[in-house]
């Protein structure tokens, strides 16, 4: 029994350590928690987004909390205002690590709205 425990520990500790070392260090932007805790969001954010997407597009329910736009407002990088521009960007970083392709930003803006508005104003001037 002791041997088994030791063996398991020997295997698990380096594995956990290795996993930690490879975890992407994300640029979380302003960050903070407004919907649920981090672990829950890592696992379930896609369900919230998909539900909100159907409610908004087809029924016109536009509650702000679960909207993609609202996520981007806080989680876009403070350096380049994007969630996909760099290796460590909030969405792109983790999706690259998990090898899950995201289609969202082929249509949706990946930058926060406030910045877009400021850029447009600059162009006008």
């Amino acid at each position: 029994m002791k041997l088994l425990v030791t063996l398991l520990l020997c295997l698990c500790i380096p594995a956990a350590w290795a996993a930690d070392a490879n975890m992407p260090k994300l640029d979380v932007g302003a960050g903070g928690q407004c919907v649920k805790d981090t672990q829950w969001m890592r696992k379930n954010h896609m369900h919230l987004l998909k539900h909100q997407r159907d409610e908004s597009v087809r029924k016109g329910v536009r509650s702000e909390q679960d909207s993609l736009k609202n996520c981007i407002e806080c989680h876009a990088s403070t350096k380049d205002d994007s969630v996909i521009a760099r290796e460590d960007s909030f969405c792109a970083g983790c999706h690259r690590y998990a090898a899950v392709h995201i289609d969202c930003f082929e249509c949706h803006a990946s930058k926060r709205k406030a910045v877009k508005a400021a850029l447009a104003e600059k162009e006008v001037q």
């Binding site: 329910v61 536009r62 082929e106 930058k111 926060r112």
Partner: protein, 238 residues
């Protein structure tokens, strides 16, 4: 003493009741019009009345405002998206020319919805005809079915979209009646931009709305009324 108390209670009840009756409808209307978490209501039918006499030839303000609102390039090639176009029509026998904006007519019986194989093309409860880009496979059946040539296909990859109006390659799109603005309690970008107020936007079902009063008092027509699609966009002086 107890009599006085009960009188007092009765008075308070009546006053509170009366004020609730007076305030409630206003609050309810405000809530319906401005609450972002409320679903589109089937009691409402959004529509527009376009006064062709007020629409000036050469003026393109509605088109420009639409392009800005939706992040369109403003190009007019067959492969460019156009949600609203200015067209000129001429009566060949008299030579009488008119200029007017043409866009999705937001039909009650939309042919684009009938033909869509994935139910991406749909009519919202409040009468706005939309494309759900998450479901659109880009087959373009709806473009062929539309009698108004109102729909466009996005041929090229897009970047820097307006955060309020997501759009992308491989999907069909058309005038969305500025659905995001409407849900926000605003009017459409084209109606707001028209210098002559030729575009009147409102709720066709609300008997007291400006548009309902106007269509009741002036002659207005639907384009291709023979198709019996009952369009939400009506034209005056056509």
């Amino acid at each position: 003493m107890s009599d006085l108390n009960s009188q007092r209670r009765q008075f308070l009840k009546t006053t509170l009741g009366a004020s609730a009756v007076a305030i409630a409808p206003g609050m309810l209307l405000y809530g319906m019009a401005h609450s972002k978490s409320a679903a589109a209501s089937d009691k409402v039918r959004w529509g527009m009345l376009i006064d062709t006499a007020q629409c000036k030839e050469g003026c393109n303000d509605c088109v420009t405002a639409c392009n800005k609102q939706n992040g369109l390039s403003g190009g007019t090639k067959p492969t460019d998206s156009q949600f609203i176009r200015k067209i000129s029509i001429k009566d060949v026998s008299t030579g009488y020319e008119q200029s007017l904006p043409m866009m999705c007519q937001h039909c009650e019986q939309p042919p684009c919805v009938d033909v869509c194989p994935t139910q991406a093309s749909f009519k919202r409860a409040d009468g706005i005809v939309l494309v759900d880009r998450h479901r659109c496979i880009g087959c373009r059946y709806c473009m062929m079915a539309c009698p108004y040539k109102a729909r466009s296909f996005v041929h090229e990859p897009l970047t820097d979209q307006n955060p309020d109006v997501p759009r992308g390659k491989g999907t069909v799109e058309a005038c969305n009646l500025c659905v995001g603005r409407i849900d926000n309690g605003q009017t459409t970008a084209c109606a707001e931009a028209c210098p002559n107020n030729a575009i009147l936007f409102g709720d066709l079902n609300d008997a007291n709305s400006e548009i309902a009063l106007k269509i009741r008092s002036v002659a207005s027509t639907q384009v291709r009324a023979d198709l019996q699609l009952n369009t939400g966009i009506r034209y005056q002086g056509l």
